[in-house]
């Protein structure tokens, strides 16, 4: 309409590419709702962004128009009824499923066309709803597998146990112990992962994911099967992990006390779409959320 507006958009299109420091670093998408990012993360590049993310399985749309912009040290939650598509979103973000639509930017880099391994190296790690530890390996070995990427060892030095091997082994043993220390699990280091009690397995899965040195940690129902005391402790530990490692954490959880107590931003998913987004207080009072959980009667 007005000539003023058209010239304005043109200039931004021109200046945007030169403003980006590296050529392969895509221009950042405008944050959709910047007010949701915690204050301390404002002004920094969001660590994880997804725009209009969607996936169809055959004719079924499992996730549609999912948007997120996570601050670098934000703890967010994803809630919703069973089958709403929460775990599907985790699978999309880690590239286990290739999205039908939309883009994912991890620390500013597009993850399209990358393999699951490459996306992990780019800085995303996750745990699983049904625990998927390497059960036959020891607790320490599970963590060491996570370290894999940062371990630059040589096969022959390892096989023939050359001095360099011992040095590296000691170094990674210490690192693994430090990590296990977060949950006071040093004493269980030589135990088989499959023999651990349920709660300890969940905690170990978090540590194994942390060992891959992520920028974003995705936790799929971390408190499932834990008693209230354990859940309480897990909340403290997740915050501690966020503070110590300075990473963003996105979690799926059904335990509302847990979600409301720890998350700064919550997204509510129903039938593959985000129906509400906001702080815990906003979510608790949102009629659409109550409707999704309790049906239409619940609103009255």
């Amino acid at each position: 309409m007005s000539s003023d507006e058209t010239t304005k958009t043109e200039t931004t299109v021109e200046t945007a590419p030169s403003a980006s420091p590296k050529r392969h670093r895509p221009v950042l998408v405008q944050m959709e709702t910047p007010n949701l990012v915690p204050e301390r993360d404002l002004g920094k590049m969001p660590v994880l962004q997804a725009e209009h993310l969607g996936i169809d399985f055959g004719g079924l749309t499992a996730v549609d128009d999912f948007n997120i912009a996570m601050g670098r040290t934000e703890i967010s939650g994803l809630i919703g009824p069973n089958g709403a598509g929460k775990t599907t979103i985790f699978n999309l973000l880690t590239n286990v499923y290739k999205p039908t639509r939309g883009t994912i930017l991890l620390d500013g880099y597009d993850t399209a066309g990358k393999s699951v391994v490459e996306v992990n190296k780019m800085g995303i790690a996750r745990t699983f709803q049904n625990i998927r530890l390497f059960n036959k390996m020891t607790v320490e070995e599970n963590v060491l597998v996570g370290f894999g990427n940062s371990m630059s060892t040589h096969l022959l030095t390892d096989v023939f146990r050359l001095p360099k091997h011992w040095k590296q082994e000691a170094e990674f043993h210490d690192k693994a112990m430090d990590l296990l220390g977060i949950f006071n699990m040093q004493g269980l280091a030589q135990e088989r992962a499959g023999n651990l009690p349920y709660g300890a397995q969940r905690r170990l899965e978090i540590l194994r994911a942390l060992a891959t040195n992520p920028k974003v940690l995705l936790l799929d129902e971390p408190a499932a099967g834990m008693n209230p005391a354990e859940t309480e402790e897990l909340m403290e530990n997740i915050e501690k992990i966020r503070d110590d490692f300075q990473i963003a954490i996105l979690l799926i959880e059904h335990d509302m006390n847990f979600v409301m107590g720890i998350c700064e931003v919550i997204g509510v998913l129903d039938y593959g779409r985000i129906i509400a987004k906001g702080t815990p207080e906003e979510i608790q009072n949102d009629p659409k959320v109550i409707e999704a959980y309790l049906g239409k009667q619940g609103v009255k």
Partner: protein, 314 residues
């Protein structure tokens, strides 16, 4: 066509015929059992490695050994080159072939049902056997002696250098393999892949490279097996891999497939069983006894000697 491995050395029969059941005979037989058992153990280790990681019974494994024996024959007999070169090329050739088979035949089927993979393995096995027959002909080729090794006699027991080399090489291979799987980063990756490929990928493990590496290691063992087998029997035929592979497979299952010490125990057991049956003059029953042993173990302890019994969580 299933062919039997060439008959065991003649002195078994002299011993049996002359009823010389003395300590010397027994010791000689033990040594022979160890030698034959070591070869089976080495081949069984290859089966167990691959099975342990991707739950594939690599039926082409025995045929990789056959190719290894032909490589030795070509290098020494046809090209007249150094035996050391023949050994190196046999091992390297087998490793390359193993990785190639994985990349071409198995890798496209990573997400396919296990049955497809199994049928493909059988197909690869036939391809190698018939390919070798096409290229080299059906007749046996004589693989020359690698080295002219002396045979010593200690107190009447003849110790062939071949037997000692075979036993020592197998022992070293087993130790190296155990360290590789238990202690190295790649070994950890292999074990992680064997338990949960999907989770391993999400922890940043390159699954395809890990599996290719497993095939390379398994095929190096096949290459070493090829050299040791050629040392003992001095011939290569297109179908030599079938019975050798099957017996080693029996050994792996006996010991508990997927277990490294199990493969060694199984291999030695099969070797001793064969030598014992021959020694008491029942050599026609040699193969039957091996398979009978398999049936008994499968009935009594289906997971093999060192295999862990499957327990399901309720």
């Amino acid at each position: 066509m299933r062919t039997q491995p060439p008959a065991l050395p003649r002195f078994y029969w002299t011993c049996v015929r002359e009823r010389k059941c003395c300590a010397v005979t027994i010791l000689t037989q033990v040594l022979n059992g160890l030698q034959l058992g070591s070869i089976y153990a080495l081949v069984a280790l290859g089966y167990t490695m691959v099975y342990g990681i991707i739950l594939l019974l690599n039926f082409a494994h025995g045929d990789i050994i056959m190719v290894g024996a032909y490589i030795s024959w070509i290098v020494m007999s046809q090209l007249g080159l150094n035996p050391v070169l023949a050994i190196v090329l046999s091992i390297v050739g087998c490793a390359g072939l193993g990785v190639l088979i994985d990349k071409v035949a198995y890798q496209p089927l990573r997400e396919a049902p296990r049955m497809s993979l199994l049928i493909t393995a059988i197909g690869v096995s036939y391809f190698l056997e018939n390919g070798a027959q096409l290229v080299f002909g059906a007749d046996a080729k004589v693989v020359p002696e690698y080295f002219d090794l002396p045979s010593m006699s200690v107190g009447g027991v003849s110790l062939s250098a071949n037997a000692i080399i075979t036993i020592v090489v197998t022992a070293i291979s087993t130790i190296v393999l155990t360290i590789l799987v238990q202690k190295t980063k790649l070994g950890k990756a292999m074990r992680a892949v064997s338990e949960d490929m999907g989770a391993a990928r999400l922890m940043g493990i390159n699954v395809n490279n890990t599996i290719s590496f497993t095939f390379a290691v398994g095929s190096v063992l096949a290459g070493i097996g090829a050299v040791l087998y050629s040392m003992a029997y001095s011939q290569a035929t297109p179908t030599m891999g079938i019975m050798l592979g099957t017996k080693a497979f029996v050994a792996a299952v006996l010991g508990g497939i997927g277990s490294i010490p199990g493969a060694v125990i199984g291999g030695l057991l099969v070797g001793f069983a064969e030598v014992f049956v021959s020694a008491i003059g029942l050599s026609v029953w040699q193969d039957a006894v091996v398979f009978l042993l398999l049936i008994i173990v499968l009935v009594v302890r289906p997971t093999g000697i060192l295999g862990r019994p499957m327990t399901e969580k309720v």
